[in-house]
């Protein structure tokens, strides 16, 4: 799938990827890949600037932990992030329904 198409929705996708619990960047990338059936493949390192900005915006919080003897940053949804995800889901449903109505009408 085209990178710019994925990037346009990356913020919402990342929020959804950490919805079930705290996750580090690797797990977020893995969740995006698996849950999209391999359709969302992006340079893995580019997820970190997105995570950092979502944290600055108050939608995620993060904390250092340790795993396999290494420092690891875990990200969680904040209350504001959860509310934003609910809004974005609704917006996406309405948008995709409208686009499908237009595209699906071709003969």
């Amino acid at each position: 799938m085209r990178g710019d198409l994925v990037r346009g929705h990356l913020e919402t996708l990342v929020l959804a990827a950490v919805e079930q619990g705290a996750a580090h960047g690797y797990a977020v990338i893995e969740a995006l890949r698996e849950r999209s059936g391999g359709a969302f493949v992006l340079p893995e390192g580019t997820i970190y600037p997105v995570l950092h900005r979502l944290e600055e915006a108050g939608l995620l919080s993060s904390a250092w932990s340790e795993a396999a003897g290494r420092k690891r940053r875990l990200y969680s949804l904040t209350k504001m992030g959860r509310s934003e995800l609910v809004d974005q889901r609704q917006t996406w449903k309405e948008f995709s329904r409208a686009v499908s109505s237009v595209l699906g009408g071709s003969r």
């Binding site: 580090h24 690797y26 390192g45 290494r70 690891r72």
Partner: protein, 136 residues
């Protein structure tokens, strides 16, 4: 320092590409953890060391792609703090001017002038100073 020289080299190039700083330091920690996890998983799935390292580095993207992603995200970030300070500054200036016009000879004119000058400087810094630039 990573156990894999290729990883250490990649991180050094990233640092040179995106520039040093607190955010970069955190990014480097996260990238190293990411790469080492990818390598460990590939090794446990039977890949050779060279193959595991090569695939992990390919998947994480180039330092230029990372720099591009950082620039995109900084562009999207909202300049919250400088805008908040600028807004408060404008409100305080308006209050000082109103107060001066209402009571021009109450003996507090110099104090109001001094406070207005400080507020004006703070507002200008918030709008055009280094803090405002860093949020862009």
């Amino acid at each position: 320092m990573s156990a894999h020289p290729e990883v250490a080299n990649f991180l050094a190039v990233v640092e040179a590409t995106v520039g040093r700083g607190r955010r970069t330091e955190r990014l480097l920690w996260e990238l190293e953890d990411h790469l080492l996890e990818a390598i460990d998983r590939a090794l446990s799935n039977g890949a050779s060391r060279d193959e595991a390292v090569r695939n992990a580095l390919r998947a994480i993207g180039s330092p230029e792609e990372l720099a591009g992603a950082i620039a995109r995200e900084q562009e999207r970030a909202t300049p919250r703090r400088p805008m908040w300070i600028a807004g408060a500054g404008v409100a305080l200036l308006a209050a000082l001017i109103t107060n001066q016009l209402a009571a021009p000879n109450d003996g507090w004119a110099m104090a109001r002038l001094g406070l207005a000058a400080i507020t004006l400087a703070q507002t200008a810094l918030a709008l055009w100073g280094p803090a405002a630039q860093a949020y862009r």
